[in-house]
């Protein structure tokens, strides 16, 4: 029978101390990608502000709206392409991780259901990605790849999580 009563102050203090003592996690070096993404937008934004003000004076708010839309679509296009390349790499890494798990593992019914659901979602995403890229906006392609990476990550997490869930 599991206890449902609140933790005692001593238990809380020990739990807090244990959580606080977990080691820091270092991220992969994201600086090059970060500064590239930042440099693209503010520089263009500054130009857009000047251009936009001049356009507002000369052409009015409607013309400015068109300029903003054009700027955003051009910027988004570049960011989406770069992001898709990164997501494709990440996707390949996760697939390699999945391939490293033994084939003979049998999972609990609950975990098995989740794994099958995730695999079904991946198939659906792959089906959409298999259509010609020109048939959809690049932002949609990016969303699909993001979803694929998230699904693969969940699948890797499921297969590598609590050993108690897995039997051989």
């Amino acid at each position: 029978m599991k206890r449902r009563d609140p933790l005692t102050p001593d238990e809380s203090a020990r739990l807090q101390a244990a959580l606080a003592s977990l080691p820091p996690l270092a991220p992969p070096d994201g600086w090059p990608r970060l500064i590239a993404a930042y440099r693209t937008r503010p520089a263009s934004s500054a130009r857009l502000t000047i251009t936009g003000l001049a356009a507002a004076a000369a052409l009015g708010l409607i013309a400015l709206g068109f300029l903003l839309r054009d700027f955003d679509s051009g910027y988004n296009e570049r960011v989406a392409v770069a992001e898709v390349e990164r997501l494709q790499l990440r996707s390949a890494e996760l697939e390699q991780s999945l391939a490293a798990f033994p084939e003979r593992r049998v999972v609990r019914a609950g975990s098995g259901f989740t794994a099958v659901t995730l695999q079904d979602h991946i198939l659906l995403v792959d089906e959409q990605l298999s259509e010609p890229a020109s048939a959809r906006p690049s932002s949609r392609t990016r969303e699909l790849w993001r979803e694929r990476v998230a699904l693969l990550d969940a699948l890797v997490g499921l297969r590598s999580s609590a050993p108690a869930e897995l039997t051989f």
Binding site: L7, L22, P24, L25, L34, Y38, T117
Partner: protein
Amino acid sequence: VKLKDFDLPRATLAAARGGEAWALEAFYRGCATPAYSLIRRIVAGAAAEDLLHEAFIDAFRALPAFDGRAPLGVWFRSIAVRRCLMHLRSPWQRSRAWLREASLGYTEDAPEGSAEPPARQHDVGARIDLERALADLAPTTRMVVWLHDVEGYSHDEIGTLFSSTASFSKSRLARGHASLRASLGPATGAEVPA
């Protein structure tokens, strides 16, 4: 270095506000690891890298408006936490969390641990158990536990963050603690890492 303790020298901060790359990099290098640790423990997935990237982009753009009344790390932490919250509230993440909780046999309303607590080992093993137990909490509960116990947020601050009350934070924290104890301890759930 904890995020709440991080700050930049005044000259570096001024250069960062002006968008100079060397100063922005100093900001990134100083905050990346503690911010990633925070994000990774809250969202527990590969999305952490993207969220870190987006949090820095948000911060770089907002730097000119940073008033400097609090340390830079405290300000950046609020941006990172907001990013995590947006992520956890997305429809996709909510359905994914539900799937995971269903597979573990508990839901947001009854977050008891899995049927068999993982085998406990000391030191590294205990840390791994704790990481796993933390990752197995429902996302909202995990965020409340981490913000309160590690980042030092008050219940009022957490309640405000979730557009709720301090009571919401207290009940989620109690639920999270009970679930961690159940996952980490023996069947009685009496044991918490020493």
